[in-house]
């Protein structure tokens, strides 16, 4: 699985969405995820990818989150 696929899996499980409904450009706002959902999600990503993620205000899309994961 690619990193993007792993990330999509986490988000789909969190939001109980069908796999394949997300693109890198999907925003968290569209998914109706608030700031605490993002904290939950980054915690899941930290476990999955073994990284430590610092949330910042520019985090808007799935691609942004992937960048943060790869930055670590």
């Amino acid at each position: 699985m690619t990193d993007l696929e792993r990330l999509e899996k986490i988000i789909c499980e969190y939001k109980e969405l069908e796999p394949g409904t997300l693109t890198p450009e999907t925003t968290f706002q569209e998914l109706e995820l608030d700031s605490l959902d993002l904290v939950d999600m980054t915690m899941a990503c930290e476990d999955e990818f073994g990284v430590s993620i610092e949330l910042d205000d520019n985090l808007k899309t799935i691609a942004d989150l992937l960048d943060l994961i790869r930055k670590d």
């Binding site: 608030d34 700031s35 605490l36 904290v39 939950d40 915690m43 949330l55």
Partner: protein, 319 residues
């Protein structure tokens, strides 16, 4: 030898403030507070003292246990602060109750009730007392910045107490402290020392909410997983999970990750907000009052807070 819980009690101040009430004095809304925290209202002190609340909760717990204050061998008060910097709440409570035993405060922030259970276990093991009162009481509204919407909406005032007698109800207990004050702290009020050259921060509570949120969710999960593993108790056997009531979102996040059935998590945060050390005994008392607790029921108590501190216990309800 550990202990048995013989009685519980709680007390909340008269004055109730809803989210809409707070929206009158702050740039906030019922919608924001409800969705981010689950809190609908909280009780705040007006004329009551922390000692008054602790005494009311204690009297109820003593009455239920069938014990008079003179019979107490120890009083332990988990709190971040009573009515004075010194003496401690334990001393003012002892006077209010008319008890004669030794009494001390325990400041382990919101985990304080678990730390007090550990101390009580030691007192019983050393046969120093037949009855121990743990009275957790907080007046957090006094140390909130009521102009900081990101902290003040979260907390409330109140007290919860338990009376313990000899027994074997404590099946496992784990405590942890990871010293790291920055994400959550309140400062000592500045005095007028002419030599103090570092100007103290104001004495309000300061918090990095997301940092604390992450700590809370991960420490609840690791604490409870450790206890389940160590005792071999299966998740289905746990009848009640009594978590420190800090934020419903923290509880929900932990509930999603843990194997214990979701309907076992008890709540009072909607009505009380975060009561720091008092929240676990207050919720325990509400559960007893609502007749949710049946003899033999296994329950997990889990607290976490500034320090960072955390504590998790497996207790059998056998009043």
């Amino acid at each position: 030898m550990s202990f048995r819980i013989l009685g519980t009690g709680s007390a909340l101040p008269q004055c109730v403030k809803t989210n809409d009430d707070l929206a009158q004095i702050l740039d906030t809304s019922d919608q924001w507070i409800r969705t981010r925290t689950g809190i609908c209202r909280r009780h705040v002190m007006t004329t009551e003292t922390v000692t008054d609340l602790a005494a009311e909760a204690s009297r109820k717990a003593l009455e239920q246990a069938g014990i008079v204050p003179e019979e107490l061998g120890w009083i332990l008060c988990p709190t971040v602060g009573g009515d004075y910097i010194t003496p401690g709440l334990s001393a003012t409570l002892q006077a209010a109750l008319g008890a004669h035993c030794p009494a001390m405060d325990i400041n382990a922030a919101c985990s304080g009730f678990l730390f007090a259970l550990d101390a009580a276990e030691g007192i019983f093991a050393r046969k120093k007392a037949r009855y121990v009162l743990i009275a957790a009481a907080e007046g957090l509204s006094r140390i909130m910045d009521w102009e900081d919407r990101s902290t003040c909406v979260l907390f409330g005032d109140g007290a919860g107490a338990v009376v313990l007698g000899e027994g074997e109800s404590l099946l496992s207990l784990h405590l942890e402290t990871k010293g790291c004050p920055e994400p959550l702290h309140g400062c000592f009020p500045g005095g007028n020392s002419p030599w103090l050259s570092v100007k103290p921060e104001n004495h309000f509570v300061h918090m990095d909410g997301q940092e604390v949120y992450k700590f809370a969710v991960s420490t609840i999960c690791s604490g409870i997983e450790t206890i389940l593993q160590e005792t071999g108790v299966s998740p289905e056997e746990i009848r009640h999970v009594i978590l420190h009531q800090a934020n419903l979102r923290i509880i929900d996040a932990a509930r999603k990750k843990l194997p214990i059935p979701g309907d076992r998590y008890r709540l009072c945060i909607q009505e009380t907000g975060n009561l720091s050390a008092a929240s676990i005994p207050v919720l325990l008392d509400f559960c007893r009052r609502d007749q949710l607790l049946k003899p033999g029921d296994l329950m997990i108590l889990c607290g976490f807070g500034a320090g960072f501190t955390s504590g998790t216990a497996l207790v059998r309800w056998e009043p």
